[in-house]
């Protein structure tokens, strides 16, 4: 190589150097821009949901003096349970409102006045009286939840500068509420209802307990079914199965199943579990079965990857000191692969927690008021509850929807945090 050539190469390198640096800079910039963009979207999403959802954790109550006279209730002095259940509690609430504002005479105004108190408040009263029937004939003070519009007004969602015709909350209602506020008869409290009750058509009475329990029951079934089956499949395929065409076909199929749209599993569940095995519709057991079909491939694939990443030297050493194949797998390989398997399982479960499409087919997209207690009780799950609330006209459900999303996100973050923790704790490097 002559001196001339040498100088040329250096020049060549030097001249391209700038371009190469620029390229790297550009790449870094794009990467950074991508991350910033996604973080911004995430932040916007989380902030809007939190801002919308936060008010739902508080509820407005109104203080009323209720007189439970048998005449208004439409019962006799010592009513039986059925009569107590049917009694006209709404009438007593209306009377007590009229007693507060005796000037209200017109029918339309009366109707507006009654709307201050929630439609569901009568059932709070009903529960109280049914627990203690001796209250009949007494007068007592009670805090009852306010109606949806009133709650919206107190939270400042209603623009009172708009002309009255365009508002759902009218001038006289504003006046009444302001009077009540001055008398300290209106209070904001923590919304226990939201965590203690099932679904309702009154936003102020709706809670997520029903769907939360439904999700838990469903996920328990999913976990109990998919985890052992998936781990057993992975161990067999990875450690014992001969490598031939059959195992290849099985492998391809498992990978394909992981990519099947989830609604297909719902259709399968409808055909097999409900139509063939006659299991009840809307039951967590069927939901769990369907979701475990969906999560199985995810767990199998991650379990196989985890088993594969255990170095062969571990197996050789164990075999070398006389362990049987089974002992090698269960005493050495599986424990070392466990963190990876658990991570895969938790991610699969988190996926199942957020799933709605397959549940539509098996009847879990439903209005269910009672909190499910067994695997065959009708139930719905958290994401379905969110979907249903988002579809209802009442304004109060907007904040309830966001609040339910917050709860669902909290669960997902918790599950993913557990996955990260397990991986950190048990991870081994060779």
């Amino acid at each position: 190589m002559s001196a001339q050539d040498k100088r040329d190469t250096t020049e060549l390198v030097q001249s391209s150097l700038q371009r190469r640096y620029a390229r790297e800079k550009r790449f870094r910039f794009f990467g950074l821009a991508a991350i910033t963009a996604s973080l911004t979207f995430l932040a916007v999403l989380l902030i809007t949901i939190t801002l919308r959802g936060l008010p739902a954790f508080k509820q407005t109550f109104i203080q009323l003096d209720i007189t439970l006279d048998a005449k208004t209730l439409g019962t006799d002095e010592n009513p039986d349970t059925d009569a107590l259940r049917k009694a006209n509690y709404n009438g007593t609430i209306k009377n007590s409102l009229l007693a507060l504002f005796p000037d209200v005479k017109k029918r339309a105004d009366k109707k507006r006045l009654y709307k201050l108190v929630s439609n569901g408040a009568q059932y709070d009263l009903q529960r109280k009286v049914m627990a203690d029937p001796s209250l009949i004939g007494e007068t007592f003070t009670i805090w009852l939840p306010v109606g949806d519009d009133t709650n919206g007004y107190i939270q400042g969602n209603i623009d009172t500068t708009l002309p009255e015709k365009k508002r759902r909350f009218k001038d006289n209602q504003v006046q009444w509420v302001e009077t009540l506020k001055e008398n300290n008869q209106i209070e904001r409290r923590f919304n226990y209802t939201f965590f203690e009750r099932g679904d309702s058509r009154e936003p102020e009475m709706a809670g997520i307990k029903g769907s939360l329990f439904g999700s838990m029951l469903t996920l328990t079934v999913t976990l109990l079914l998919s985890f052992p089956v998936a781990v057993a499949t992975a161990i067999y395929l990875e450690e014992f199965a001969p490598k031939n065409r059959w195992t290849d076909i099985i492998e391809v199929n498992i990978n394909n199943l992981a990519a099947v749209p989830s609604i297909v599993f719902g259709l399968l569940g409808l055909a097999i579990f409900i139509n063939f095995f006659n299991l009840p519709r809307s039951a967590p057991i069927v939901g769990g079965l369907v979701l475990s079909l969906m999560t199985l491939p995810t767990i199998i694939i991650s379990a196989r990857a985890a088993l594969k990443s255990v170095p062969p030297s571990i197996r050789d050493a164990a075999l070398g000191v006389g362990a049987s194949k089974l002992q090698v797998v269960f005493h050495h390989v599986l424990p070392l692969a466990m963190p990876g398997i658990l991570t895969g399982t938790i991610i699969g479960m988190a996926q199942a927690l957020g799933e709605t499409a397959p549940l539509l087919m098996i009847g879990m997209v439903a209005f269910i008021v009672d909190v499910p207690t067994s695997l065959t009780d009708p139930a719905t799950v958290l994401p379905v509850q969110i979907y249903q609330w988002a579809d209802l006209p009442e304004k109060g459900f907007v904040e309830k929807t966001s609040a339910a999303i917050m709860v669902l996100l909290a669960f997902l973050i918790m599950m993913n945090a557990v996955a990260v923790y397990l991986r950190r704790k048990f991870e081994r490097k060779w």
Partner: protein, 355 residues
């Protein structure tokens, strides 16, 4: 030691799975003490209110209501008699002859039909713009895929209208932009059938087709343009309201109860001279409203506890009356006479016969 624990844990899990699977058959349904309701998502917001009340004020469990759509619900309902089949299906249209025949073929012979009220479908825009007065003819001309040639020649051409003022000089000079539900939605079906077809019939050249060539008539009247003027926004009516708020020039199509709840954000357009109100929908002068029904299986009365009481609760004046709680939720009540006669026929469990 650790390895032993892990394998023990796995063994325990597997056993529990085995028991779950084995007990699976034992879980098969033989009795049910809860009413099972399926059907229309339009009736859902009303039926759920009744169900909740029913659960609170009687000794029976709160009915379970699945929102499957009218067609899907009818299919489930007509599958047969027995605890594994639903007791009641909600519908935002009357049962079709084919569905009725299917029901009969599967042994669901005695069906109680209940007309519960009406649901108005509204065209609305943001309160920031002016209220618009439309006719069904304007709606058809603005939204149909093919319209009569505006220069008077015979035959249909692809919809050329871009502004409302092109359709009808009295309308504002605004781009036509309508946000509505997709074809899978019952609201869309009803809108097409009532508003579009209603306008279609007012155009002589097309109306003449109704007698001679029914298929073409339907196709022309029921096909909405696909050039981006009509925007499909998904089944969620709340979403449409939000979009109108963001875009004051657009009109949106949604149910009357959403209009009521959002009167601070949106205002209805007049259609054929009428604004959608309780009165105008109830007496039929507002042209775009649809009937709401539910169908109950007579064979299940006495087998599943509470059906009879549910029917009575639904048809009580406190529920479906003019001052009832369903009206509070935005359902348009039937007139008093119809209510009285149908409540009487429900109490007698009169069944439906379709010829």
């Amino acid at each position: 030691m650790k390895a032993r624990n892990v394998s023990l844990a796995i063994a325990a899990l597997t056993t529990s799975v085995a028991t779950t699977l084995l007990s699976g058959n034992a879980l098969a349904q033989s009795t049910r003490d809860q009413i099972s309701i399926v059907g229309s998502s339009t009736v859902y917001p009303f039926a759920t209110v009744v169900a909740e009340r029913f659960g609170q004020t009687t000794k029976f469990k709160t009915p379970k209501i699945e929102s499957t759509g009218s067609g899907g619900g009818m299919k489930l309902f007509c599958n047969g008699v027995g605890v594994e089949h639903p007791d009641i299906t909600n519908s935002s249209r009357r049962i079709k002859k084919g569905e009725y025949d299917n029901c009969q073929a599967n042994g669901v012979t005695d069906i109680i039909e209940v007309l519960i009220g009406f649901d108005g479908i509204t065209l609305a825009n943001s309160v920031e713009s002016d209220q618009i007065e439309l006719t069904t003819k304007d709606i058809f001309l603005a939204l149909a895929k093919e319209v009569p040639n505006p220069n008077g020649e015979e035959g249909l051409i692809d919809n050329p209208y871009e502004k409302w003022s092109d359709v009808n000089p009295e309308l504002p000079e605004l781009d036509i932009e309508v946000i509505g539900p997709p074809p899978t939605s019952g609201t869309r079906d009803a809108f097409v059938e009532l508003a579009m077809e209603g306008g279609c019939k007012k155009i002589e050249s097309i109306a003449a087709l109704a007698d001679t060539d029914k298929d073409t008539f339907k196709e022309v009247c029921h096909t909405i343009r696909e050039d981006g003027v009509f925007i499909e926004a998904g089944e969620n009516d709340n979403l449409i309201v939000q979009k109108l708020e963001a875009n004051p020039d657009a009109l949106g199509i949604f149910g009357f109860s959403f209009l009521e709840q959002n009167s601070d954000l949106v205002q209805p357009s007049y259609i054929d001279g009428f604004e959608p109100t309780f009165e105008s929908i109830s007496d039929g002068s507002y042209p775009v409203s649809r009937p709401l029904y539910f169908y109950a299986k007579k064979a299940h009365i006495g087998v599943i506890p509470g059906i009879e009481e549910y029917l009575l609760e639904f048809s009580s004046e406190g529920a479906w009356g003019e001052e009832g709680y369903l009206a509070d939720k935005g359902m348009i009540p039937l007139d008093e006479e119809t209510r009285t006669t149908s409540a009487a026929s429900i109490a007698k469990f009169e069944t439906l016969v379709l010829e």
